[in-house]
């Protein structure tokens, strides 16, 4: 199984590889979540969801179910 953002540990960094347009909303792309950009996990909320990320310099939080769809490659 491929690694996704949801499997990142706190402080880990990775490069976004691939995802399907149909499950990942355009909004996320506009925030800089594009293949080739860097992502790191800043913080996980209590009860394990949502995830607080730094994507390409933008700080944002998304839910685990979305994060599961974005494949990464660890740095």
């Amino acid at each position: 199984m491929a690694l996704t953002i949801a499997s990142l540990k706190k402080g880990q960094r990775a490069i976004i590889k691939d995802f399907s347009v149909d499950v990942v909303p355009l909004k996320l792309l506009e925030m800089g979540c594009l293949p080739g950009n860097e992502v790191s996990l800043v913080q996980i909320a209590p009860f394990n969801d949502p995830l607080y990320l730094n994507i390409n310099g933008s700080h944002l939080a998304i839910r685990r179910e979305t994060a599961c769809n974005i494949e990464i490659e660890l740095l």
Partner: protein
Amino acid sequence: MAKHINVALVGNPNTGKTSVFNRLTGLNQKVGNYPGITVEKKQGNCKFGRACKVHVLDLPGTYSLNASSLDENVVIELLLNKNDKDFPDVAVVVADIENLKRNLLLFTQIKDLGIPTILAINMSDRMKRKAITLDIPLLEEKLNTKIALISSRKNLGFDYLKELIENYNQLPTRPCLNASEIAPEYFDRLRNAFPNQDLYKLWLVITQDVNFGKLDRKELKGVASFQTESPSNLKRLQQKETVIRYKFINDTLKETLHIDAANAKDLRSRLDRVLTHKVWGYVIFFSILMLIFQAIFDWSEYPMDFIDRSFASLSEWTKNAMPAGQFTNLVSEGIIPGIGGIVIFIPQIAFLFLFISILEETGYMSRVVFLMDKLMRRFGLSGKSVVPLVAGTACAIPAIMATRNIENWKERLITILVTPFTTCSARLPVYLIIISLVIPDTRVLGIFSLQGITLMFMYILGFGAAILSAYILDKILKISTKSFFLVEMPNYKLPLPKNVLITVIEKTKAFVYGAGKIILAISIILWVLASYGPGDFNNAEQIIETEYASQNLSEKELEMHVESFKLEHSYIGHVGHFIEPAVRPLGYDWKIGIALVTSFAAREVFVGTLATIYSVGSDDEQTIKSRMAAEVNPILGGPLFNFASGISLLLFYAFAMQCMSTLAIVKRETNTWKWPMWQLVVMTAIAYVFALVAYQTLK
């Protein structure tokens, strides 16, 4: 000749548009609540020099011109519609130096629409701290624009920005990108079909509702049918557009922007470690809430008492100073008590908005959203529902408008439906007056005031009702939507006092004028209905005189009997008696019945109504409260406002949907009468049942 320029401030959320707007226009602004459009656009005017009048529009933040929420759609509708009277001569894209990369996406899109565009890079005061350097001349060249490096906090760079705005017709309008690069073949087809149109604009119109279904398209009819591609294909092309734009931006910034990460100071992560901690995060959040409530009730008590007493004196003074007659009575018994009933809220509303705006300004609200999302989702809500629920303690109307950024329609709908349960400031005067009448002024454990605890309990009851009904709604509403959630975590910032002040003044003003109009109208109508009547009303003196002829009453006592006879036989008295059977099981008399009816327009009318009803015919200087305390239950004897009827009233007000403006806003936000009607019926039924049970068990 005076030059007139329309300026629109656009940019990503939180980049400082409103701060720039406040800097440009000062306090010289008016809030436009445009009918039909679902969002507040703020506009203001200012003058540059002698001959240049500038009209500035502050728009809601948007990440791109691809609409995915109502908020963003306002911006797109404006920029695509050349005929709009607010269509800008020049767009100022406000960008945040720390998020320049992401901010430029929107910039390039607006630029490609052919609108003269200035790039205002804000928050330049933070460059040093974050070790950022920027090659502005080179960036201007690459982006084909003029750049003003500004700081609205430190008031830097605004002279140059004004100069650029004034000379907007010298701005280069060449696009950043060639739109047809997105899909050459598709754009060729477009060009053939609509040879005279701007291609990029066409593309935006066509793709406008791909992500977002419910738009009222106002323009370019016929284009919508040019759907030769499937929605998922269009989506793919939009994605491609984003990728192309980001590539351009990344290449541009690589040469012009430099961040020396090693020298940057990082306050964010240190604060986040505490504020989003799984224990401390909650402790801090609830402490802040407690502090807010405590402050609101302790601090605003003094100005409120003062206002109450001043209006009672004013009313008395008018009565004595003006020539006796019906007009004087209208002013002293109808209008002044009515206005007093609204002015009295100003201290609390101002405090509430003060706190909310500080929480938003500092960036803390996003952390609350992050912290609460998982918990709220159990109840069918989103972390973002916390903001409306907290804002609902001020007023449900802005709170319901604040649901717009909830991406998931079902979560958004549930939030809209349950928000009116939270204790808004309009309920507060009702609670305060009833609690002070029926709850003893004693202390529990020596420190906590019992009245204060009761009030706190009413707030908890409101939140509880909201959460519980959300849970039930989540189970019964069959709406399938794709779950999606995205919240930006902004940098922590010290709030800008001017921003906070302007927000507080603006919101308080809107509340006072909005509610004030209704209350004033209702007080006048009430006064008229209470001062005139059919049949017996006009023979009151005779009837009373014959009835009490044997009792040898003083002049004064006789007059009192006449007045109360008159009130009971006035038009309003008849209305009250008509509904009395419905409200008697709840422990109310016909006067409270009238107040319930009038407060269907707005809850805060309750106190004003009772003030008006009780002041008709009473002539000594009394506050509303002492008048209410003196009321006697006509059937059972004893004070009308006793423990049982008081609790019953509190519960009724806690649950009932009594606010026409909220119903109107829900209709506007949900686009159907179904949901507001649902709220009206269900909430009122719940209120009636609770009040009934409470009164019948306690009496």
